[in-house]
Symmetry: C2
Subunit: 332 residues, 2 copies
Amino acid sequence: MTEQGYDVGVDLGGTNLKLALIDGAGRIIERSTVPTLAQEGHEAVLGRMAEGIRQLAAAAPGGAVGAVGVGVPGVLDMATGVTRDLPNLPGKWVDVPVGPILREATGYEAHLLNDVRAFTVGEHALGAAKGAETAACFAVGTGIGGGLVTHGKVHFGLGGAAGELGHQIVLPEGPRCTCGNRGCVEPLANGPGIVGEAVRRVLQGFTTELGHLAGGNLAAITPALVAQAAADGDEVAIEVLERAGYFLGLAVASTIASVAPEVVVIGGGVAQEAGPIYWRAMEETARSHSHVTDIDRIAFKPAALGYDAGVIGAALWGRERSGIGSRESGVG
Amino acid sequence: MTEQGYDVGVDLGGTNLKLALIDGAGRIIERSTVPTLAQEGHEAVLGRMAEGIRQLAAAAPGGAVGAVGVGVPGVLDMATGVTRDLPNLPGKWVDVPVGPILREATGYEAHLLNDVRAFTVGEHALGAAKGAETAACFAVGTGIGGGLVTHGKVHFGLGGAAGELGHQIVLPEGPRCTCGNRGCVEPLANGPGIVGEAVRRVLQGFTTELGHLAGGNLAAITPALVAQAAADGDEVAIEVLERAGYFLGLAVASTIASVAPEVVVIGGGVAQEAGPIYWRAMEETARSHSHVTDIDRIAFKPAALGYDAGVIGAALWGRERSGIGSRESGVG
């Protein structure tokens, strides 16, 4: 990471717009968070985003930044900065020219990428996958996304869609995924998958403290609560976490077979909350289902940048893209 | 492909050693095939290989070649040219210094790679994936292997093991794979998978012409014979091919989710023999299980170089590696 000025990263989330000003070494030196309020429409959201970018740029030594990068939760045209679909945001985010609007409003080129690819850029540049020639990064939350590093660079693929590791198929006729398929690992190993299995078992009448811990309110069951029960020895909770970790491990094994990474990075809020039982089941399943001779050389690491990976990665992406100007090379 | 002299490619197969002399455009201008006879030991096999290389080199205009590449069926150290394990060859091919032995015997540096990665190099350079920035190549035979192209180059990953697309897990608790796992797509969609399902159905007593077509000899059932019965409308044969194609399609869908290729290439003898019903089931399953917005932009193509992809790819790999000398970059 060379020292080369300051850049702004933005993470467009369903709840909050997170913005950060980073220095040449990728350190966050200023940050801000404002509510997304996507129901107000994209004009209002992008207005808040532009204002946040201007404020952070003004806070940079010299009063300006080199580049702006924006991570968005969905599909987009990376070459033009126009969204195709951000399905999880209220309001219709189809064909919204986010990049051009931000340029108009801030004077900066804003380079867009998928938010989980931004997470991958961040973890590869400065986090758990730092320096890797080949890496696979999983982000486990309400969904499961990810990103791949090959030839020492984040791999975007056709339409920037590469890295949708949560849509690897591990159980034909498994639960319906939000993508429309059956069998994706996502609904088996994500937050709703863990909570749904826990609720099912409580309702089935298995002996468990989960209902009690949730104060009798099944809607209060979270991955963190399941992990808490499991840590106290609750066998139903342990089974739920092991099951979810097992399925994630099958997907990790498929990724290892395909990509042969030096390092597998697992991040995202749910992976963190679900704790060591989930992690152990994932890693043991992945290792025991990988036939690669060098499986012992593959490192399994938790993501290192936490909730900042997205904004840091977005800023670094903006920096990289502004450096290569308008040249396109298969990432659009 | 620039015109830059002549190179030799070798494909070390279980039955035959295939060798080819290619020109600067990757055209085969001379070839030879000798029996592998691996049971005679690696010294004898490598002696025959060296002799074949010398003969082809002598046949090149000028009497010499630039480089030698060798595709081997298994795991190896690409940096040193030493095998780690070639499990399907008779004789113990563990820690055999194939590269150094060939250099000693022929005077040429011999650059080794996995045989299915050689297929991928060939298809990417001159075949169905030509010019692709991102591609996924499957070779379906007795096993299922493959290779990935990312950033416009074949991706090797840790230990050169990337591209083992047949070991993606699509059916937990599915049949045992030769790698030791359960659930890999390989035994569900390869030659033995097709034949095994056909034999099972014949023995179960389903109404089918398969037993008759095989002359009452179940050992005579092949993927080609199943395809022939299916083409004649035999419903059991059709079901067997659709089932195998379905599972291959699930694995292709997982690869698409991970890699987002512009082109999916399917090659290998069994894929060719299994015919259009197998292919259609594969492609329809892969497309219907892919949530990528641009799924319609992904091309599905049969491999274009046929049985020559391996030797051409090996020769091109030798050329590339000799060009970059002894520099290593995560491919070893």
